[in-house]
């Protein structure tokens, strides 16, 4: 038993729903109690889908448990098949139905439907949403894809995009365009937009592009084995990764990796002088491993931030994340406990968080700006505009999205110079953010200052404490922490203005 306040992932059957909802022509029958239908709103509200997810829930109640839940399931499957006429039917159980052990797979096969029936094994008490999506897609591919002759033209499949994915819709468009420039056509994109009949012709592509290892890797590995299709390992998020990805495709296909880069603006935006203020900004990354690993590379190599912490909530990809963390010399954080993430962020005192919806809340609480880079997502993370993460336009989007929460270049200098001005003080916030600027309440010089402030055995002398307050808010916590570490290391017990500036010189970057 583990106490959970907020979760990064839903149960595995929600992953199955992400695959079914992404596709066309499939229907999922879930053996589940009344109430589990809440998951429909994830798709209709967060993603603004204009159709109900293709999912029938048996919604059994207590009175059914004493009677015959197996018959209830069979009726639901038969009715769903008759009403929706799917090309393939997927069946599974949610957490409660797993306990009553009705065997949806066996029951659905017993009623003899005239379409393929794919039974899912979703262990709700040990696995989670991402596993459920990966497993569902894998089961569909295993049931439907067969080896076949390759297409004449060079084609590939795009694997892993699902419903409720972070910018999957736009990534698919962007990567399809990029590949077209190389001369590669997309045979099937799946699960997003595919039908079961499409899955049957996966085998005719020359290779697979694995967009999201979280939700597509099992299927990619299976197709490598059964259909002899190699798959790409680089996830094309960021300029460097996109170039590596193109090189990888070139190596597989023998085509040239040279493509038009006209729309790519991120490298110049990053090199232009206004961006010098981004140098060495401390950034903490958390999310699914794929997005975090890719974002860390962009942050460190393409924008010039310093990675001070990174982690992921999905243990399945922990190994990849650990090796990436080693590149930046930080301790990897593998956890799905958001309190642990909050503690790690507080300890790292970053100037920017790149995280999920959960980290946005952590950032609010700690007063640290945050940009979202990964699922789980909020309705705001499904923008109306084209906003991919992958490819050239994705690189542009990353630059804009990550820089936006920060105080801008020249403004940062002005705040530093004029921070004593009562209207232009630091708590007024960045000028391009929507909230109301508030004039600072001027308090008269206190008659008697408290003699000292103590923190552990370290004391801040009043002058030093006042000086600390003059430091702009976005670096103040770091300054406080650095000064205290500096003082501890040197056995200084009372921090003076001199200690503060000695520490500043010591940590100068």
């Amino acid at each position: 038993m583990k106490l959970t306040l907020w979760t990064y992932e839903g149960p595995p059957h929600v992953g199955a729903m992400r695959v079914a909802t992404a596709m066309k022509g499939v229907h999922l029958v879930l053996h589940a109690p009344q109430g589990d239908t809440y998951a429909d709103l994830l798709f209709t509200m967060i993603e603004r889908r204009d159709h109900r997810p293709p999912v029938t829930f048996t919604t059994f109640q207590a009175s059914d448990l004493g009677a015959d839940t197996a018959t209830l399931f069979k009726n639901a499957a038969r009715d769903a098949h008759a009403r929706f006429k799917p090309q393939a039917l997927i069946v599974g159980a949610s957490c409660t139905a797993e306990l009553i052990q009705d065997d949806p797979g066996g029951l659905a096969k017993a009623i003899g439907l005239d379409c393929p029936v794919i039974a899912l094994d979703l262990p709700s008490y040990s696995r989670k949403e991402t596993f459920g999506a990966d497993e569902t897609f894998h089961a569909l591919v295993r049931a439907l894809a067969v080896p076949m002759a390759r297409t004449e033209a060079i084609t590939c499949n795009l694997l892993g995009a699902t419903a409720l994915g972070f910018r999957h819709r736009d990534d698919v468009t962007e990567i399809t365009r990029l590949l077209a420039q190389m001369g590669v056509t997309v045979n099937v994109c799946a699960p997003l937009g595919a039908t079961p009949d499409d899955l049957k012709r996966l085998g005719q592509a020359h290779f697979n592009v694995l967009l999201y290892p979280e939700t597509g890797e099992s299927a990619a590995r299976l197709l490598e084995k059964t259909c002899g299709q190699p798959f790409t390992k680089v996830v094309p998020i960021g300029v460097g990764a996109t170039r590596d990805f193109l090189a990888e495709v070139a190596a597989i296909t023998g085509l040239s990796a040279q493509v038009d880069e006209t729309g790519l603006r991120q490298p110049w935006w990053s090199a232009s002088v206004d961006s010098t203020y981004l140098t060495g900004k401390r950034v903490f990354l958390f999310g699914d491993a794929t997005h975090v690993i890719a974002a860390a590379r962009v942050a460190a190599r393409e924008i010039g931030f310093t990675v001070v912490g990174m982690g992921c909530y999905n243990r399945e990809q922990a190994r990849a994340l650990r090796s990436a963390a080693a590149l930046y010399g930080v301790t990897p954080l593998i956890t799905d406990d958001y309190l642990e993430v909050e503690a790690a962020i507080a300890a790292a005192t970053p100037e920017l968080i790149l995280g999920t919806q959960m980290e946005r809340h952590i950032g609010k609480r700690l007063g640290i700006p945050c940009a979202v880079i990964s699922a789980p997502v909020h309705v705001q993370d499904f923008p109306a505009r084209y906003s991919p993460q992958m490819g050239w336009e994705g690189a542009n989007v990353l630059f804009d999205t990550w820089v936006h929460p920060l105080v801008m270049g020249l403004e940062e200098h002005l705040l530093t110079m004029f921070r004593e001005d009562f209207e232009f003080h630091d708590a007024a916030g960045a000028s391009h953010h929507g909230h109301k600027a508030t004039a600072r309440v001027e308090t008269p010089e206190p008659v008697k200052l408290p003699e000292v402030t103590t923190k552990g055995t370290i004391r801040w002398l009043p002058d030093a404490e006042r000086e600390l307050k003059k430091i702009p808010f976005f670096v103040r916590n770091t300054a406080r922490r650095n000064t205290e570490s500096y003082a501890v290391a040197r056995g200084v017990e009372a921090i003076s203005i001199d200690t503060l500036y000695e520490a500043k010189a010591h940590y100068a970057r």
Binding site: M1, K2, L3, T4, L5, W6, T7, E9, G10, P11, H13, V14, P33, Q34, G35, D36, T37, Y38, A39, D40, L41, L42, T44, M45, R48, R49, D50, H51, R52, T56, F57, T58, T59, F60, Q61, A62, D64, L65, A76, D79, R83, S94, C95, T96, L99, I100, P123, S124, Y125, S126, K128, Q357, M358, H361, K364, R365, H378
Partner: protein
Amino acid sequence: MSLDAPSLGCTDTPVLKERGQREVFCGLTGIIWLHRKMQDAFFLVVGSRTCAHLLQSAAGVMIFAEPRFGTAILEEKDLAGLADANVELDREVARLLARRPDIRQLFLVGSCPSEVIKLDLARAAERLNGQHAPHVRVYNYSGSGIETTFTQGEDACLAAMVPTLPASDAAELLVVGALPDVVEDQCQSLLTAMGITSVRFLPARRASDLPAIGANTRFILTQPFLADTAEALERRGARRIAAPFPFGEEGTTLWLQAVADVYGVTPATFDAATAAPRARAAKAVAAHAATLRGKSLFMFPDSQMEIPLARFLARECGMTPLEIGTPYLHRGLMGPDLALLPHGPALIEGQDVDAQLDRHAGLAPDLTVCGLGLANPLEAKGHSTKWAIELVFTPVHFYEQAGDLAGLFSRPLRRKALLKGDAA
């Protein structure tokens, strides 16, 4: 009973019971508003990742503070041995209470998995009371989907509290149902203006404010879904005041009138207390009724508030209900509202969502009240919808909210008109 059927509204309308897929929340959802109402309470769901995910998703956005609810997620090893599950539960509760010394009431909330594996939370609550009383009072109830639908979770929660309330012979009025604090205060001042001053509320904002009850307690419900709580109170000797539910100007007036009749409030006092807010409410409703009048209405089952709301929309806003679905129709509690609801609509108890969607498509109502899972798909087909969950998450009771309540229904219609460019 009068033989004059039309004057009895829907009292004798047959209720069609449907069985099939239900597109409703489970009772755990009530925690979203109950934990805000009871400021020293923590709701610990003993369940699965699904339960935790539901609470997070139903809240829509995450609440910007550490929530006073959480889920003790059952893992494989808990399923293997129930003895261990109890040990684990005690450990998690001890850790939680150590971290949150401000918590005075702890609700162990049963879920579908905990019910199916027969984890005895009543005994667990007893055991934990032994460990943590008197500082913390531990209750238990079930919010599972196999036992409860959406708002029934609040009923189960309040019903679980009733047996532990202290006994009293005081002649007090108990107002039952979780109301936003501002609405509770309005209710109190209306009753005070009528000269009724011994008023208590269930649930109370804090454990120390919990009411005492007994044979001299008269109680009145503010929410139509509190059948078990009403029964539990009656078992303690308290007597219920029957009334329509206080939605809209008319509903609020009849609700207050029912109280006034029991307490012998004179017509002059009643009018003095209610005339001004009644006029305000009628005026506020009228502004929205202009948009709603003559429009047809279809309600998917959701909160059990459907019958009283349909009564409000039909009588005060001039709408024509075509079909009213409700998860459960409790005739005992709903009698006064059913009698007022104009004859005409089909009444459906339970749900078969696919069959209902077919009927809905055939009727093509002007306004559809439904859950979040159906709203956008129906909008995409050209229907105007109102999310039912807002009716539970928004202050809608009594006079001062009557206009807001009507506004919840008129806004989708006004919005559609605006976007068409022919704003009325």
